[in-house]
Amino acid sequence: MQRLGEETAAIEQQMATVMEGKPEVVRLLLVSLLAGGHVLLEDVPGVGKTLLTKALGRSLECTVKRVQFTPDLLPTDITGVTVYQQESGRFTFRPGAVFANVVLGDEINRAGPKTQSALLEAMEEQQVTIDGVTHALPSPFLVIATQNPIELEGTYPLPEAQRDRFLMRLSIGYPSADAELEVLEVHGEGDRLAELSPVTDASSINWLKEVVGQLHAAPALRRYIVDVVRATREHPAVELGASPRASLALLRAARALAAIAGRDFVIPDDVKHLTPYVLAHRLVLTPQARMGDATPDDVLAEVLASVPVPTSDRGPQAGAPRRQAASLR
């Protein structure tokens, strides 16, 4: 537990040197990494999406690949292709862009649906199958896909089902004035990225992921997660609520956040904190709500303010037995 806290702290500290004034984003990125999920970065260009990804890759001492998604990008560019080698007279597999620990898919909505789904499939399966041969992807495997929310012309927005594959959606946002000034100074001096040295490696990240997966989450807390997710489905402004996959994602993310905070147990605050990031991109609001300028974040704020926080997990949870009792009667 202690080691976990130390390592994550080291990564955070290191990345903070390049991502001035955005510790929250860095932390959430780490959450995603430890939870084994992927991140959808939805932001205007030029706020440091690529920098963030590269910084993470350097700090972890693992491979980073960047794919610029364009309308003519082919699925095989993502996954890889089998090529006939004339010298040896054999087909050999040439890995695509996803064969890296950290993959940055820039402007993912610019590529066609076929290419998009190739990436998303790889994200979900953690493996790629080409010509009947399955190739495992490296671990850890983190996809950071960016999307420009402004330019809608000539884009293929991710369908709801695809968005569900991302653990969380983040937006970096513009830096504060001071931070921006700092950016100017830093970048003026040269490449700070090159100065980053790895603080950990892929194998320890895998170990951390294992530890995180076993973190204690009390039954009452899991119930709280379910309550929150169910509440999104019952909210009047929501047409399509969060899926059970979302519940799972929320629990995984909460565990990772608890670990980063140095705790060996999850608390409701973790869940509350992560709910907007984990659930917002999965909600589809009703047309009326969208006309009324409501956003998923508003809905989630309302949900969080209405679902009571469990106060204890000392003793068995009475919630389940009671429900059971009611159905037995």
Partner: protein, 772 residues
């Protein structure tokens, strides 16, 4: 918002913790606790008939509550069920069926009968000595008390899961009979053991964090709860050993019941029981005596001057009464009388009052009577007790030897035990010598008369220091003020110091004449006097006690007993003609207020000097145990220096609840959707200030294990929050805050009780609560 969270798991800020132990187990433990708590009532009641209604009350009270809970009723419903069930029970069990409509439904007549029964019971409590018979009036009070204590125990232990309070309630019930009654030679240990076992069961099962069969290792790692072990063991040892100091565990009760009518229950020292009555001015009748002449009713005699401390006897034996009673001493010169005694206020008594000296008895309860010819004492046998209304006829031979005959008796032939006065204060013997030599008396009877006359010139007071041991005797002869016990005790001791066999008799003076040959003896007539043994003639009575009005009454005066017959120079007024009421004559203007405990304290204090540790309390062992435990604890603590105090999750949660109450008092109650961190930071107005408490409570609520020592920082944080928020407030504002906090606390209490309710009902239906 249509979000409908499940209220049961997330009942908001004031939710109680889960209840893992089966409710039935806990109710069973409560029943056992109550059963153990009512065991000492066996001291209050004669026989075992009292047990049935009391057991029924416990079972019905607890059962009613269980059913009410099962049916989903809250505390109020439970209370209503309790009231209805209790009134039905009382009506059916104690009130005449004729007052019930259809033999079942109570009517206004039932109510009236019930009220009368209660009034009767209250009256009986004041007048009846313990042990007494389980008459309806007393039983209705007992059953009512037991019923509602059981109700309270149930509410506290099962509904509120506050087992300590439940045990305290039962403990009160348990203590009452032990505190107010005497044990007839019994030990209360046997009543303490079941109570302790049941209490431990309730404490274990009812505890907030109790889990059957699984001990929880708090904090993980090497927890060495040396402190807890040592404290627990010390508590057990101290509890077992010190329990002997609790009133009722010894031979005598701390408090003599106010209504110890005649105080005739036996203990090792009848004087102790009787003493409070010797100064009692109550006009409560004790007995009705039919006799041709006024007679002293004798209860027993005290033959042993106990190690210089007090008059007592070596215990009363008893032979069955069949045919003529053997004479205590040959009494050739005596008069025969036929006396009939009817008990009026002697219920529960063991010593049967009788004139001296009975030779034959006829009574419907003859087979229950026993006679001790050495002490001339009539007693009830075994568990039998005298009941009011009992009557018995005695053929009495009153010693009546002439003075001349007594002068010729050589008293030195008597049993040497009867002249033994160990550790008698020197002044007493010296005073006796001086009186005798001044009077020039040289025979035993003359010496006795001289001392009697001297003492009669002293002052009578009902407010003397109690007791008749060495110290009391010393102060008595210095101040020359006392009451019958001291007069009789001192005279008997003086006579013995002169070699004259003497003893103290206790009983009643003849009482008030109400008819031709009928006397009513009241409690105020309780008395002590002196008997001197004249071989060949028997025990002859002397009366050293002066009257407050200057009259001196002499035992058997009208019966023409020797000392007074010949003692014609003494000024005394025949009482038979004037039919004086002893109670009134004897009484000084002011009502005496003898402290019930005081009579006991006297001899006990005296005994302590003479016989250290005689009471059986193993002081040595206690000391060894305490020192051993302390040493062991120190050693253990040294071996495991890192063992820190273990903080139960409940303590931290209680802190948060206090902050919640504070916040509510300050107008910022907790929202259901707020986490601990959010709420505590809001109340503290600074996340940093609340941080230690937040960390502790998060761990307490959500962590798989709770580490040691987390509470100190949390406590400081709580204090800091409190200080910060209340610091600048005025007194009035603070009061307002406190009131609002209490209101919030009360609402939470109700909410918790209700939540616990539903939860338990759910648990019951869904089967045993499983592990998570």
């Amino acid at each position: 918002m249509t979000a409908r969270p499940t209220a049961e798991s997330t009942a908001g800020p004031c939710t109680a913790a889960g209840r893992p132990v089966s409710e039935w187990l806990l109710v069973g433990a409560c029943a056992a606790l109550m059963a153990a708590a009512v065991l000492p009532f066996a001291r209050v009641f004669v026989g075992v008939e009292f047990a049935r209604p009391v057991a029924a009350a416990i079972l019905l009270s607890l059962g009613g509550q269980s059913l009410a809970r099962r049916a989903g009723g809250g505390p109020l419903t439970g209370l209503l069920v309790g009231i209805v069930a209790w009134s039905m029970f009382v009506a059916l069990a104690f009130l005449p069926a004729s007052t019930l409509y259809g033999g079942f439904v109570p009517t206004s007549e039932t109510l009236r009968a019930g009220a009368e029964l209660f009034a009767d019971g209250v009256e009986l409590v004041r007048t009846r000595p313990a042990p007494t018979f389980p008459v309806p009036g007393l039983m209705v009070l007992t059953v009512t008390g037991v019923w509602w204590v059981a109700h309270a125990v149930d509410v506290l232990a099962v509904r509120l899961r506050s087992p300590l309070h439940a045990v305290a309630a039962a403990l009160v019930l348990w203590t009452v009979p032990l505190a107010v009654t005497t044990t007839p030679g019994g030990q209360a240990w046997r009543w303490a053991v079941p109570l302790l076992i049941a209490a431990v069961a309730v404490l274990l099962l009812g505890s907030d964090t109790a889990r059957m069969g699984r001990a929880r290792r708090v904090g993980g790692g090497s927890v060495a709860p040396a402190f807890g072990w040592v404290t627990g063991l010390g508590a057990v040892v101290a509890g077992v050993l010190l329990v002997g100091l609790v009133p009722g565990f010894g031979e005598r009760a701390l408090v003599q019941p106010g209504g110890s009518g005649g105080g005739l229950t036996t203990t090792d020292n009848p004087m102790v029981d009787i003493r409070s009555n010797l100064v009692d001015q109550s006009r409560i009748p004790v007995a009705r005596v039919s006799s041709p002449e006024p007679v002293y009713l004798r209860l027993t005699s005290l033959e042993r001057f106990d190690a210089g401390q007090r008059w007592t006897n070596d215990g009363i034996r008893g032979d069955p009464v069949s045919g003529p009673l053997p004479a205590e001493a040959q009494q050739p010169l005596s008069r025969s009388l036929n006396v009939e005694v009817e008990a009026l206020g002697l219920s529960g008594a063991v010593l049967v009052p009788a004139p001296y000296q009975p030779r034959a008895i006829s009574s419907p309860r003859l087979e229950d009577l026993r006679w001790d010819s050495d002490l001339a004492t009539l007693t009830m046998t075994g568990d039998e007790r005298l009941a009011n209304g009992d009557s018995y006829e005695l053929a009495v031979e009153v010693p009546n030897p002439p003075l001349e005959a007594l002068r010729e008796v050589d008293v030195s032939e008597a049993n040497p035990a009867l002249t033994r006065v160990p550790e008698l204060p020197e002044e007493v013997g010296a005073l006796a010598q001086r009186i005798v030599s001044e009077a020039g008396a040289d025979t035993a009877v003359d010496r006795a008369l001289a001392i009697q006359q001297e003492l009669r010139s002293w002052e009578y007071s009902l407010n003397p220091p109690a007791g008749h041991g060495s110290n009391a005797m010393r102060s008595f002869i210095q101040r020359r003020v006392g009451y019958c016990e001291q007069f009789a005790g001192t005279m008997a001791a003086m006579l013995r110091s002169l070699g004259i066999p003497a003893r103290v008799a206790v009983g009643f003076t003849p009482g008030e004449r109400v008819g031709d040959s009928e006397y009513i003896v009241r409690r105020a007539n309780a008395h002590a006097w002196v008997e001197v043994l004249f071989p060949d003639y028997g025990w002859v009575s002397f009366e050293p006690t002066p009257r407050s009005d200057g009259n001196v009454l002499t035992p058997g005066a009208e019966a023409g007993m020797a000392p007074t017959q010949l003692d014609s120079q003494l000024t005394r007024r025949p009482q038979s003609t004037a039919t004086p009421d002893f109670g009134q004559q004897q009484g000084p203007p002011q009502q005496p207020t003898p402290s019930p405990a005081a009579p006991d304290a006297g001899p006990d204090a005296e005994a302590a000097g003479g016989q250290p540790a005689g009471g059986g309390l193993p002081w040595t062992w206690l000391g060894v145990a305490v020192v051993g435990l302390a040493g062991g604890g120190l050693l253990w603590g040294r071996r495991q220096p890192r063992s820190a105090a273990i903080v139960a999750p409940g303590e931290v949660l209680a802190r948060v609840q206090r902050v919640e109450r504070l916040g509510a008092g300050l107008g910022r109650p907790r929202e259901a959707s707020e986490t601990d961190a959010e709420y505590l930071a809001a109340v503290a107005r600074d996340a940093q200030r609340a941080q230690p408490l937040v960390a502790a409570v998060e761990r307490a609520r959500w962590a798989p294990t709770v580490p040691a020592g987390a509470d100190e920082a949390a406590g400081e944080a709580e204090a800091a929050i409190r200080a910060h928020r209340l610091g600048g407030l005025g007194r009035v504002t603070r009061a307002m805050v406190a009131v609002r906090s209490w209101g919030y606390g009360a609402r939470c209490w109700v909410k918790r009780a209700r939540a616990g309710e539903g939860r338990r009902a759910a648990t019951l239906t869904a089967g045993p609560p499983g592990a998570r």
